[in-house]
């Protein structure tokens, strides 16, 4: 009986803790938005974070995009040619990338490369009292440290996802056209005819924007809210990667079901 009560008690405590954290995150987000104007006025702070979150993620995004596209080219051709539709490879590669793989895989990579770095940096600043020192110098850490990193992530992510998709298409073309011998004209013309700017490209961009904002918010929040110890920081970093990945996949389902309703 006591064991059962303990389980219920622990479950209750976890729910209360979870709700409390969501509430705190919501308040934190409101504060972040309130101080964003002040932060964006000093655009060089955000530009610097675009460099750290975006430019320094270029390598992993470009290489991953290329390989994902190449695998899509191989697998896609193998399946399509069974039905005599090998020429439609360009359509398969481009739609897979712009609608799904571009935003989702780029989002996951972004979370594990840039999101993790942001959490670690803010968390370490908190652990070493740098945020407190800033606050005592009458400089708001949310405006000076958090908001530029958030907006840096929001701006970088759609650009990285677009680049990921472009590299993927190039990878698919490389395998399909250059190595396997799919007709070059058919590859590009079918792609051009099938990919819709509004429904495919713009929805993909919108998804990557939402994923970028989600990952950036999770990353800055986990860093700011971490327990200021080595163990607390390590937990915060783990939470950033896990929560971001789950949030991206769940949001992807929700957005896809909203965006592509009645299509196809």
């Amino acid at each position: 009986m006591n064991g059962l009560l303990n389980v219920i008690r622990r479950l209750g405590a976890m729910v209360v803790e979870g709700v409390w954290r969501i509430g705190f995150a919501a308040r934190f987000f409101m504060l972040l938005l309130r101080h964003s104007g002040q932060s964006l006025m000093r655009i060089h702070l955000t530009v610097r974070e675009i460099y750290f979150s975006g430019v320094l993620s270029l390598l992993i995004i470009v290489v991953s995009g290329l390989f994902v596209g190449m695998v899509l080219g191989l697998q896609g051709y193998e399946t399509l040619q069974r039905y005599g539709s090998g020429d439609a490879l360009g359509v398969l590669v481009s739609l897979s990338l712009t609608r799904e793989l571009g935003p989702v895989v780029a989002g996951l990579l972004f979370a594990s490369r840039a999101g993790l770095a942001v959490t670690a940096e803010i968390g370490l600043m908190k652990t070493t009292e740098q945020l407190d020192a800033m606050d005592m110098m009458a400089v708001n850490p949310i405006a000076r440290v958090v908001a530029p990193r958030f907006w840096g992530g929001v701006i970088s992510m759609p650009l990285l996802a677009a680049l990921f998709s472009a590299m993927g298409v190039f990878g698919g073309w490389l395998i399909g056209v250059v190595f396997i011998g799919v007709d070059d004209g058919a590859f590009w013309s079918q792609m051009q005819a099938a990919v819709d700017f509004r429904f495919d490209i713009m929805n993909g961009v919108l998804k990557s924007f939402v994923f970028g904002a989600t990952v950036a918010l999770i990353a800055v929040f986990e860093g700011y809210d971490c327990t200021p110890t080595a163990e607390g920081l390590s937990r915060a970093i783990t939470r950033t990667v896990v929560t971001s990945a789950l949030a991206i996949l769940a949001l992807d389902f929700v957005l896809t079901s909203l965006m592509f309703r009645g299509q196809s």
């Binding site: 020192a133 009458a138 400089v139």
Partner: protein, 272 residues
């Protein structure tokens, strides 16, 4: 005894503070006159740092009042609090330098954030502050390249960048070698007098403090247990002060953390 007639900069009256259920401060009273160097001393975990954070407005007291320059810190709005903090400098225990900025940029940080001064003027001011702490030559180094004592001095230069009226130090001597310790101690005194500032120093380094401060408050278990000038405390027969000054392991501050009797713990532990 600091009297009410002294020109007080900081006045703490019956302040209480608790982290959740854990009571840290239980009715603290202390006064800091302008221009003086005041030390707050006590064992680890007695609430000294909490007291500094209450004075700086980073924490709010659960009871009593903290006044700085005649204003109740708890009643200030965020912008008023930030306005007040611009006239405060705080040195954190391990310096809290911004690790992604050079020594120069660290000291320039408050100047760049709060003033519109041209680059040349900021450069001169930063170099003057660094010169005051003897580290003008280290302006281009990164914090990771500094020793503990040097990092503390850079943080001190940053804390005085805006010529504050109040400088607060959180354990300025922790982890320093004897030479660095003496240097920091002398700097604290000299900078206070040169800037016409007021200093509150939280520390447990009794020997260094007795040499440089004007007045000392001893805190234990959330209360002021003794106070006085260095000479008064050296002559004091108060058991608490005696234990602290002579670094005795047991006394009014117990060696053992409160627990059941040893026999009971051992037998009880075996039986469980």
């Amino acid at each position: 005894m600091v009297s009410e007639t002294d020109n007080l900069l900081v006045s703490v009256k019956d302040v209480r503070f608790a982290y959740g259920e854990r009571e840290i401060l239980r009715g603290i009273d202390l006064k800091v006159p302008r221009g003086k160097v005041v030390a707050i001393m006590g064992g680890s975990g007695c609430g000294k740092t909490t007291l500094l954070r209450l004075i700086g407005g980073q924490l709010r007291a659960t009871g009593g009042t903290v006044e700085v320059a005649g204003r109740n810190v708890a009643s200030l709005t965020t912008s008023e609090l930030y306005e007040m903090r611009r006239r405060m400098g705080m040195l954190f225990q391990f310096g809290a330098l911004f690790t992604d900025m050079s020594v120069f940029d660290n000291v320039a940080f408050p100047l760049r954030e709060h003033t519109e001064l041209p680059f040349g003027l900021i450069r001169d001011m930063v170099l003057m502050k660094l010169n005051a702490v003897g580290l003008r030559g280290a302006a281009d180094l990164m914090p990771a390249e500094l020793s503990g004592g040097m990092a503390r001095r850079v943080a001190l230069a940053r804390a005085i960048a805006l010529d504050p009226m109040l400088i607060m130090y959180d354990e300025p001597f922790a982890g320093l070698d004897p030479i660095s310790l003496g240097v920091i101690g002398q700097l604290i005194r000299k900078l206070n007098d040169a800037l016409g500032a007021t200093t509150i120093m939280v520390t447990h380094d009794i020997m260094e403090s007795l040499q440089i401060v004007d007045y000392i408050y001893f805190i234990s278990e959330g209360r002021v247990v003794a106070e006085g000038t260095p000479d008064e405390l050296r002559a004091s027969q108060d058991p608490w002060v005696y234990q602290f000054i002579h670094a005795e392991a047991d006394g009014p501050v117990p060696f053992h953390y409160p627990a059941a009797a040893l026999d009971e713990s051992l037998i009880g532990g075996r039986g469980a």
